[in-house]
Symmetry: C2
Amino acid sequence: MTVTKRVSDRAYQTLRDEIVGWELPPGSVLGEVEQSTRLGVSRTPLREALARLTADGLVSSQSGRGLVVTDLSLASIREIFEVRQALEEQAARLASRRGDTAVFAKLESEFAAVNELLDHDDPARHAYYGLVARLDDAIDAAVDNSYLTSALATLRTHLVRVRRLAVDDPARLAAAAAEHLLIVQAIAARDAELAAHATQVHLHRAWRNIQKLANLENSPGPAPIVPRGSP
Amino acid sequence: MTVTKRVSDRAYQTLRDEIVGWELPPGSVLGEVEQSTRLGVSRTPLREALARLTADGLVSSQSGRGLVVTDLSLASIREIFEVRQALEEQAARLASRRGDTAVFAKLESEFAAVNELLDHDDPARHAYYGLVARLDDAIDAAVDNSYLTSALATLRTHLVRVRRLAVDDPARLAAAAAEHLLIVQAIAARDAELAAHATQVHLHRAWRNIQKLANLENSPGPAPIVPRGSP
DNA sequence: CACGCCAATTTTGTATACAGAACGTCGATG
DNA sequence: CATCGACGTTCTGTATACAAAATTGGCGTG
């Protein structure tokens, strides 16, 4: 357990968790004095936390009128996925070349048995997402590229926020697990091209699934997935 | 001329320019009080500037002992290029699909006549790099993806710092211009695949050129390109 | 002579106070 | 009744003061 003693780090993590956990939904305005009193910290460390969140792209200064939580329109999710396509394909390629085969072989066996994880009714799918997180960690370690790793980290933060929109689809989850299995197999077999292509397939299907869900919720039109609003 | 009135922004831009301009070479330690007195600002806005530089990856906290300007080893440049491969290929693809053909056709004619720019002896190659910057801007506008654009912006900041290592090679500059020409032609012709491949070719050659220069300077060994030191 | 510990100083992290700017509101006037 | 302007409130941005932590130097001891 990494105990962060810096107050600004605690404020950052708290706000970040609240944003990705939808306790602070898109459009929420974050006044400095308001949040500093709420979190019990001074304005100085809070400003540092907000600066980091701005750098992450989780909040942005809406026309000078305070900071607001970035919205999650379908268009912005598409933008995230376009970057994700580029970075995750590259990560899959590099991991195939540099990764520890044994590590990915073990992950392969775990993904092969993922049905058991999905059967245990775990409302938040903690076991499954934990396995995916361990795959992400293994890829990060394999690529050994701090720039790529940090870029992927911020992307994943945004994707956790998106996840809320797509959780309730067990069929999609099982399909995603199968797609992950192919990616891990390719990396374990040091097949960079297959890993890259399998990653593209996975992201294509994930994006299509999000599009489908968005169309179901508020059909039709290019409207934002969630209405703006404060808690 | 965008006049930045915020003191923290001025401090950020000043430090950023000094870092990419090698006035603050890699390894320089940036004490808060030292820099705040030097720039004539208080510590609070300076800390915000340093936080942004940290987010950019230009400075990092070296084991708690103050902030230091990130070093530019050959390994770190390779990492930058691995991310660049992924993002610029994607940008080229998307620009080919979404770009304004007329804009890129005009840039195409300018790159075709780039020899004239390179003939005028401009020590800093301002005209040439200005043209490249306009190409970057056109691509940013074409891709219309804020996440991708901001990621490319930070990458380009690092690349300006790298540029110092590769300026003195007119033959390479002419070759790079020809490579850029092909990329622009492909985008103007809406040939996404060719644009992607031409981008890969360009980045491959640019990286090879940097490797060659690094080997010439301090052969052999995986040593950093520049020795660490303060000004 | 080397290793370790203690103290002094510098440095970072946090809090608060002050100033300036922007937004909203209330009132007055056309 | 609508619109424009001025005032007040509230916000961000900046500076400074305070506290805590870490490093460096020196001194003592093994």
